[in-house]
């Protein structure tokens, strides 16, 4: 089968059935259903009867775009998840619908991601990425090109990180993984995957803006989503920025919070899954250093993007000269 060779490159955010507890799966199905239902309503109003062909083909586009990859080093390759790209180019509600369809087809056709846990997968890879991706891009939609591209890069990077964070938390709440191992592992791998996502998203948006400036004007952006998205996106990013270092430095602390709030009890089926003390020496860092690391990561992405925009501009003046 043709698509098979591409699958190893798709990052492991597609949770299969069996890895989440029933309670966690049900909660995220509910959350996702609410977002998708509102999304259908909103997008129907914007596109009317154009909704179905446009969204269907855009979903097929994201699926196909996930095949595009580039070699990084040592046999690994960077490629696109697409959640942020879809939300930035089509608007957040349309982005959610597109990603929902992609995740549904991947689960039904390829068993890439489960059915009972599909709600969680839709939330992590479709809704969260739209919140963060669009929310962080929206305030800069009318800014200078360099600023705008930097915002898109940061938004794409954070969208992947937020998805990885929530996936880790869901696995932990389900009693499937211990937080002090799954969180650093997921965040570490996806910090790199997010970098590829950021670079591809920036280049793709910049290409689309040149080829079809009519699709991404300030007017469209205003119509697609308001400041509620910005607030939600900023809130999710801030929460991730605070939670990640706190959780990696003090998993027991987060566990206590979860028990106090009753999350642990709701998520887990057996009492012995309450995680015992189990620490890895090299993870003993303070929350402050973790937050700093997150900010440094964002700064690195921004710098890379500025550099790339510079490259883009140089190559486009070159082409103009040649023409």
């Amino acid at each position: 089968m043709l698509a098979q060779p591409f699958f190893p490159f798709i990052p492991q955010l597609h949770i299969p059935d069996g890895f989440l507890s029933l309670a966690v799966a049900a909660i995220f199905w509910l959350l996702s259903l609410v977002f998708v239902a509102v999304g259908v309503h909103k997008v129907q109003k914007t596109f009317n009867e154009r909704l179905i062909p446009l969204m269907g083909i855009m979903a097929a586009f994201i699926f196909a775009a996930q095949m595009l990859n580039f070699p990084v080093a040592g046999g690994t390759s960077g490629h696109l998840l697409g959640g942020a790209l879809a939300a930035i180019v089509l608007g957040p509600w349309a982005g959610i619908l597109v990603m929902t369809s992609v995740i549904a087809v991947q689960a039904l056709l390829f068993q890439d991601g489960g059915l009972l846990v599909m709600g969680a997968n839709i939330f992590n890879m479709g809704i969260l990425t739209a919140l963060v991706g669009y929310g962080l891009y929206r305030p800069f939609a009318a800014s200078r090109r360099t600023v705008q591209m930097a915002a898109i890069g940061v938004a794409a990077w954070f969208s992947v990180m937020a998805a990885a964070l929530l996936t880790s938390l869901q696995l932990w709440l389900s009693g499937t993984s211990t937080l002090n191992v799954v969180l650093p592992a997921m965040m570490g791998v996806h910090a790199l995957i997010g970098l590829g996502e950021a670079l591809i998203t920036v280049a793709a948006v910049s290409f689309i803006r040149q080829a079809r400036p009519d699709l991404m004007g300030a007017k469209q952006v205003r119509e697609q989503g308001g400041w509620g998205w910005v607030a939600a996106g900023a809130a999710v990013t801030l929460l991730a920025l605070l939670l990640t270092p706190f959780a990696s430095a003090d998993p027991d602390g987060l566990e206590r919070v979860a028990i106090n709030l009753g999350f642990m009890h709701a998520g887990q089926d057996a009492p012995y899954q309450l995680l015992p003390d189990y620490t890895i020496p090299f993870l003993g860092e303070s929350p402050i250093s973790g937050i700093l690391a997150g900010l440094v990561g964002a700064a690195v992405v921004a710098a890379l993007v500025v550099l790339m925009v510079h490259l883009l501009r140089r190559s486009s003046t070159l082409t103009n000269r040649r023409a």
Binding site: F19, A60, G196, A203
Partner: protein, 264 residues
Amino acid sequence: MHIDAFDQYQESDSLVHRLDPRVKVVVTALFILSNALLPDGAWAGFLIAFGLIALVAILARLELWRVVKRSFIALPFALAAVTIAFAAPGPPLFSFALGPWEFTVTVPGATRFLSILLRSLLSVQMAILLTMTTPFPDLIHAFRHLRLPHSLVAIIAFMYRYLFVLSDEALRLLRARAARTARLDDRAVGGSVLWRARVTGNMAGQLFVRSFERSDRVYNAMLARGYQGHLYTLSPHEMSGFDWAALGFFALALLALQIFARIG
């Protein structure tokens, strides 16, 4: 690529193939739900669940081994669950040293890990059986009959229709890039990682523009043929007595399985 290039459907005329797709979708969902409800360490329950998988595979005239082998697609994710084998408190099963660290697998930890793994494999196997015995368009009809949101089902139907078209387009872009990327083994050629990322991003942008414009053309063609926002089907898809019987059999079997796993 052909329209069903991605479809796992195995053409045959078995009992399972002839079942109404609605029954197959509902049974698959119930089966996965039942797996999630099985308690940790209910080995007999897991075995019976696998018996149901084997029964469906035999009735569908599919090789059980192929189904099992394909279900290993979920295995890489098990890495995320390995840690629980060490973390759950309880009597130790065995321990081993890895560098400076000493790892101890506990009995409840191993039980939990194996149960997660079995639940996942069984669920994936039933989902595979569903896609192997049901053409994707039939699945879409089943969703429509099961009253899933109409527009979402139509979007998914459309996505399936254009999946291979746009995948072809993506492969064309990849081929074009490969054709223009000469490589010498002993010399670094091409640009930096940044440059490569930009080229890939441009390809994604190009693919987007082509897809968007195609959706415009498709939409206009649909309008010209009288499209008013609804997709219709001529297929009646009526439930026969046999369909109801199969649904009842599976519901009862899963109920019995749950009761057995709790008593035994």
